[in-house]
């Protein structure tokens, strides 16, 4: 007889079997999260609001490019004579070249060249590589507004309607529920950027066809493609940051309006605040003035602009942002961490009552 004590048998859990018609998926954290994101995207896809927002975005992008093309169209349709130097009698400036004779063929050729240069400069925002920046800049305005509305709605709507009770009693944890919202907005930001960006680039190209500026694809080098990808990723990240703000405020306020209004006010006010603080900083001077001047360096939009400008500098030779990439990245990650952290903490601690 063995003297080794036998382990006490644990009572066996009765096998729980579901109907054959119920097909369950994997239950690991990632699979549950991905299915929750899928569910969120399905809701957005079936929702009239998201279609309206997308339509507004498309119209705004097309209109944006159309407005930009007006200057180039005016230049292109202007007669060559309007690009001739003014006649010497009408020009008062000594340094400005003037014409003291009837335009010769050479003068007309020079005028034609000046016209082409002006049209090219005016249309630069309509064709690649300039149209990529134009599309992203338009998206940085209208895309932010539309995605804030969407983000505020998908979180606040759960509380407004009361569907949060059902969603939180189905299996996913509260953290998965929240991460699904962020994941959904990441997909939406990416989708918006790709779709609206593409529509913008195509619209710009079509408008450029009417203007007739030839496009040179010499810019299409390896480094340009790399910086363009980084530029687009920064744009997605910036959209996600404002969505994160809307999600956080919607969770905090348990309402759509809290997220939408709060994030839009933030987005609008930080630009005014940045200018005001810089102005007061310069006026007051001293350590406090320096402090006030430094505050805008930690505002959301300034850091996003810095990252975008730093990439644009490589892409189209624009001016670099005043802040370094590492500064901007660290500040923006801190913001995202705060938004996710606050929303997570509230979500975890909150009792879901009426």
């Amino acid at each position: 007889m063995s003297s080794i004590p036998q382990p006490i048998a644990e009572p066996k859990e009765p096998q729980f079997e579901r109907s054959q018609n119920v097909v369950m998926g994997k239950q690991d954290f990632t699979s549950v999260l991905l299915r929750a994101i899928g569910g969120e995207l399905y809701k957005i896809w079936r929702r009239p609001l998201s279609k309206i927002l997308l339509l507004i975005g498309i119209i705004f992008v097309i209109l944006g490019f159309a407005v930009i093309s007006i200057g180039a169209l005016i230049s292109a349709s202007s007669p060559v004579e309007s690009f001739l130097p003014p006649s010497c009698g009408s020009s008062n400036s000594v340094q400005t070249p003037c014409l003291n004779h009837l335009p010769t063929k050479q003068d007309l050729a020079n005028a034609e060249q000046a016209k082409q240069q002006e049209v090219r400069a005016a249309a630069a925002a309509l064709y690649l590589p300039g149209s990529l920046s134009t599309a992203v800049n338009i998206l940085n305005f209208i895309g932010v507004i539309l995605l804030i509305i969407l983000a505020g709605t998908i979180v606040g709507g759960e509380y407004n309607v009361g569907s949060i009770r059902i969603m939180l009693t189905r299996g996913p944890t509260r953290a998965q529920f929240l991460l699904a919202k962020f994941g959904t907005m990441l997909v939406c930001s990416l989708f918006s950027l790709l779709v609206l960006g593409l529509i913008g680039i195509i619209t710009g190209a079509l408008l450029n066809l009417t203007i007739g500026v030839s496009v040179d694809f010499k810019f299409l080098t390896g480094p340009w493609i790399l910086h363009s990808i980084l530029f687009l990723l920064i744009a997605v990240f910036s959209l996600l940051l404002y969505c994160g703000l809307a999600i956080c405020l919607s969770t905090l306020g348990k309402a759509t309006v809290a997220g939408v209004a709060g994030a839009l006010i933030w987005w609008f006010v930080e630009r005014i605040l940045s200018s005001a603080l810089s102005f007061f900083g310069q006026t007051i001077r001293g350590p406090f003035g320096d402090f006030l001047k430094a505050v805008p360096d930690y505002l959301l939009f300034n850091n996003i602009d810095a990252l975008l400008n730093n990439q644009q500098q490589y892409m189209s030779g624009g001016t670099a942002g005043t802040l370094t990439d590492i500064h901007a990245i660290l500040v923006l990650i801190a913001y995202l961490g705060c938004f996710i952290g606050i929303a997570w903490w509230i979500n975890e601690a909150r009792d879901i009552t009426n």
Partner: protein, 349 residues
């Protein structure tokens, strides 16, 4: 591991140990010790504001208890909520869905969050549950246009979607017409026959009496009564005796009192009362199947009753007695033990 469950009894579906929830100074649920066994159809009763929904929300993890624990299927819901919820289907109060989606689209979204695969794989299940709640004809109708009864039915469909082991229904008959109420009763009976555990919170006591095998009654957050429905009803049974003359009534009362003292312990109480014609009657708290015995005792002593009425108990009486009795602070609920008693360590949870 100390915080994990201490013992596990696989016959228990739900057990709570001193579950308490306070909202500021208001104690919504106080020291609740519930026990629901697998396969039970458990009626959870109480007036409005008694803490029924708060309890359900605590069980489902929607609100955190101030004190105490809730264990479902042997798992503490503070630590293993997702695993528990995989086995539970619930509607809490009036279920609310996405108003811009159709009934079937709402089920698709819920399925994605219930661990079910997306796509067409579960189409047969959607059809099945919609068929059960008779919403197939309106499955493509936008939820916003649903009537209250249809919304309630969709809620039940959503609760049944993943074919859960435990179905928690909080007022499932709200907004339903009488035919709908009967359908829900049949559905509960059908689910019970499939071996599912049903936790039913309802105000319709006649329905609860018909479908539930066990009930608990809450009042002001306190558990007043918990037990087997049949047992509770048996406790309410009475034998009503009316004699022809007042003198006979007094004699009969004395005789029955003596009978009780001589060993008829099944008589719990004897009262003199009046019926609705103002005639004196003797009310004996005893099982109705003992009425012949009582009658025989009287007859042996040359007392012949004018009327002997065995009176069945009703859940309504039990409920009203429980909720209308004056509250005693710190009172212990009347709780019947299950026939299959739990291990001591489980009871200590």
């Amino acid at each position: 591991m100390e915080n994990k469950i201490l013992a596990h009894d696989n016959t228990t579906a739900i057990s709570t140990n001193r579950l308490t929830k306070a909202f500021g100074n208001l104690v919504a649920v106080n020291d609740l010790n519930l026990q629901v066994m697998r396969g039970d159809v458990f009626g959870f009763l109480g007036p409005n504001g008694s803490g029924k929904t708060t309890t359900i929300r605590m069980l489902l993890g929607l609100i955190r208890p101030t004190a105490g624990r809730a264990v479902l299927f042997g798992m503490d819901n503070a630590y293993e909520l997702p695993a528990i919820l995989q086995r539970v289907g619930a509607i809490v109060e009036t279920p609310t869905f996405y108003p811009y989606l159709s009934g079937i689209d709402n089920l698709r979204v819920i399925a994605a969050n219930s661990g079910m695969v997306s796509g067409k794989a579960n189409n047969a299940r959607y059809e099945e549950v919609l068929e059960i709640v008779e919403l197939n004809a309106a499955k493509k109708m936008i939820y916003r246009k649903y009537s209250l009864g249809m919304k309630q039915r969709l809620g039940i469909a959503a609760a049944l979607l993943a074919d859960p082991e435990l179905v928690m229904l909080d007022e499932p008959t709200n907004g339903l017409d009488p035919a709908g109420v009967i359908d829900i009763r049949r559905l509960i009976q059908h689910l019970s026959s499939l071996g599912k555990t049903i936790f039913l919170s309802s105000h319709i006591l006649s329905e609860v009496q018909q479908v539930c095998n066990r009930v608990a009654i809450l009042r002001k957050g306190n558990l007043i009564k918990q037990g087997d429905v049949k047992e509770l009803l048996r406790e309410q049974e009475q034998i009503e005796i009316r004699m022809n003359q007042t003198a006979e009534t007094e004699r009969a009362l004395r005789l029955i009192q003596q009978f009780k003292e001589q060993g008829a312990h099944w008589i719990t109480q004897i009262n003199l009362d009046k019926n609705n014609r103002e005639q004196p009657i003797i009310m004996i708290d005893a099982p109705t199947n003992r009425s012949a015995e009582v009658n025989m005792v009287l007859a042996r002593n040359n007392l012949f009753a004018a009327e002997v009425h065995p009176r069945e108990g009703s859940l309504e009486e039990i409920y009203l007695q429980a909720v209308q009795a004056p509250a005693i602070p710190g009172m212990q609920p009347e709780t019947q033990a299950y026939p299959h008693t739990l291990p001591e360590k489980e009871a200590m949870l």
